[in-house]
């Protein structure tokens, strides 16, 4: 008896399909109805968790609401918060700090990542294993990364300080990567580069592999020098991929919070205070909810603009 049923299901497809199943009520649905049934839960969730809060944020950004004193009556302050933020020199300092962090970390990641990709693309023996090892840092939790680098950066006992001291004759206890005014801005760049170089490398590698061999052969026929081939074949062909990596890293680093928060917590003073740290301090330490909502909206607009460009590049790369 049991075998008969099995055979039925495996071979007699039309019979099986005609059997009324769990989906009877859905079975007669048009494609259009199914499309909406499938898409709407996602859209509803995103509206509830992202868009509704966003609208709420916009509303609050025009008030002087303080979340820790919910019982106090708050009032509309018009565009006061926005004017205040855009004329606040501390915000501009934070923006500069962020720009410094974004610019240098991306520059190093591109140079190292692209360089490594060129080398790995020569397909030496065992390249796949070593590539996997290089990729590991980018999969880790930025928070955990920021935290364990504080251990490596300990003066005296930290491994980083010891190794630098070993090779430079500087006393490992004489400098503090995290506490020093001159070094701290570079410390966050260093850790970010360590973590995200593999990201740029992996995307560049995909770009290099997308270049058909025939183009290189044509360049060889034309007797183009290695240097010339690099500038007029390799680089232009990898460019869309590189742009993809740069844009994504720029957006992510612009809003960087977790790694910096645990590595330097914006310190010393507010020297490594990126805008996300400023926002956290204003929203969850000073509880200036209205003011920080306005800052959040400004940040969101900036990111949204960049994301728009990112998706355009993304679609361009997709067609390759």
């Amino acid at each position: 008896m049991q075998t008969t049923i099995e055979i039925n299901e495996a071979t007699a497809v039309p019979v099986a399909a005609a059997k009324p199943g769990l989906t009877t009520s859905l079975a007669g649905m048009s494609d259009r109805a199914i499309a909406w049934l499938f898409i709407s839960p996602t859209i509803v969730l995103l509206l509830a968790i992202n868009i509704f809060p966003l609208i709420w944020t916009i509303y609050m950004s025009f008030t002087n609401y303080k979340a820790n004193m919910g019982w106090v009556k708050y009032r509309s302050v018009g565009t006061e918060n926005y004017v205040d933020i855009l004329t606040d020199s501390d915000i501009w300092t934070a923006m500069q700090t962020t720009a410094h962090f974004v610019f240098w970390s991306i520059l190093f990641e591109v140079l190292l990542g692209f360089g490594l990709a060129l080398l790995i693309n020569r397909k030496f023996r065992g390249h796949s294993l070593w590539t996997t090892i290089i990729l590991l840092p980018m999969m880790l939790s930025p928070a955990v990364v920021g935290n364990f680098w504080t251990f490596l950066f300990q003066p005296q006992i930290g491994l980083f300080n010891y190794i630098v001291g070993f090779f430079s004759a500087a006393d490992p206890g004489s400098f503090q990567m995290i506490g020093d005014v001159n070094l701290a801005p570079w410390t966050i760049v260093l850790v970010d580069t360590w973590m995200w170089t593999p990201y740029v490398m992996l995307i560049c590698l995909a770009g290099l592999r997308s270049i058909p061999d025939s183009i290189y052969e044509a360049a060889e026929v034309d007797r183009a020098s290695t240097w010339r081939t690099f500038w007029s074949v390799t680089l232009p062909m990898v460019m869309p991929f590189l742009m993809l990596a740069i844009l994504f890293r720029a957006i992510e680093n612009f809003k960087m919070f977790d790694m910096v928060n645990l590595l330097t917590n914006g310190g010393p003073g507010s020297l490594t205070e990126t805008v996300s740290i400023t926002l956290k301090r204003a929203a969850f330490e000073k509880w200036q909810t209205g003011w920080s909502s306005a800052l959040a909206i400004i940040l969101f607009l900036a990111v949204f603009g960049a994301a728009n460009i990112y998706v355009k590049v993304l679609n361009k790369v997709k067609q390759r």
Binding site: L202, E220, K255, L279
Partner: protein, 317 residues
């Protein structure tokens, strides 16, 4: 490699240049992996060895960090220590050597459990919703498709702190602050955008002919989806799930701002393992090691799909 080695090829690098490239890449790989190895090594040191100068590479292996990670201890007077029966377990013995007794389990197991529950819960939901939406976007004419897809992806780019402000207020209003359900919902919302984009890429690659054949055979759309598309998308669904799981496992900003005890996950708690006289580095290292190992394993397993995952499915290889 393919027997044509005699001919000069422009595409294939020379043996010498391969050797040099290999050496440079291996050097970079060793440098880049050192911090991680150092943390793993530190997790097996005693607190004294962990802060020794010069840093010790070889030291007496100890599981004290792991003991400290999972227990809370209290210092006792020597008279009281002497009155105790002999130590029973390994951790107990170490605690006694430090004039302490184990007072009970720490919060770590609970936090690991929270990480697992929230991670798997949000992954399941995100992949479930994502598969449905991705199928619809892949196969049907949806009005404003490009705009909807952009909208879905754009939510991924919102700065977490900016989202956390209204979410905090909303959850407080609804009594969802510091609950598993609240965190699962939040992580689902963040992950669903990745899931839709990634899965759309995977489903786009499945030939439509299979479904059309099934439709001709008398299946309905839904049956065709369940019986032909889902099995073929299984690898893609699994890869997507791993990406979602890694995100939820690693997430810190929402966790630190929106949870405090009941639903707190691992990332916000690892930095705060304080021992006597400062941070308990072996315990921090032990926590980090345990936390990181699953990710390392998944990364190796995911190797083939990594590129897709980090480019929302746009770059396929």
């Amino acid at each position: 490699m393919n027997g044509k080695a005699t001919a000069h090829s422009v595409v294939e690098a020379s043996a010498r240049s391969k050797w040099i490239s290999g050496a440079v890449v291996v050097f970079y790989a060793l440098v880049t992996i050192t911090p991680l190895l150092w943390i793993v090594l530190t997790s097996f040191k005693t607190p004294t060895d962990s802060i020794a100068y010069p840093p010790k590479v070889i030291s007496e292996p100890s599981l004290e960090g792991y003991c400290n990670l999972f227990t809370i201890r209290s210092r006792q007077a020597p008279e009281y220590m002497a009155s105790l029966p002999p130590a029973t377990g390994y951790c107990d013995k170490i605690a006694r050597e430090r004039n302490m007794v184990i007072a009970g389990p720490s919060k770590t197991p609970g936090r690991l459990l929270n990480s697992l529950v929230i991670g798997f819960g949000s992954t399941f939901l995100a992949v479930f919703l994502g598969t449905l939406a991705a199928y619809a976007f892949s196969r049907f004419k949806v009005p404003l498709k490009d705009d909807l897809m952009f909208f879905i992806l754009s939510t991924r780019f919102m700065p977490p702190i900016a989202v956390a402000i209204p979410i905090y207020l909303m959850y407080r209003q609804l009594g969802m602050t510091d609950t598993h359900f609240g965190m699962i919902l939040l992580y689902t919302a963040v992950n669903v955008s990745l899931a839709v984009w990634l899965l759309k890429g995977f489903i786009d690659e499945i030939p439509r002919e299979y479904e059309e054949a099934a439709l001709v055979d008398g299946y309905t759309r839904l049956q065709a989806f369940v019986k032909t598309v889902l099995p073929q998308a299984a690898t893609g669904i699994a890869a997507t799930a791993v990406f979602c799981l890694i995100f939820a496992w690693n997430e810190y900003a929402f966790a630190v701002l929106l949870t405090s005890g009941v639903a707190q996950t691992m990332p916000p708690s690892i930095p705060f393992l304080i021992g006597e006289g400062g941070q308990d580095w072996p315990a921090v290292a032990a926590g980090t090691t345990l936390f990181v190992i699953p990710i390392l394993v998944f990364t190796v397993l995911l190797r083939k799909h990594l590129l897709r995952g980090i480019t929302f499915g746009a770059v396929r290889k």
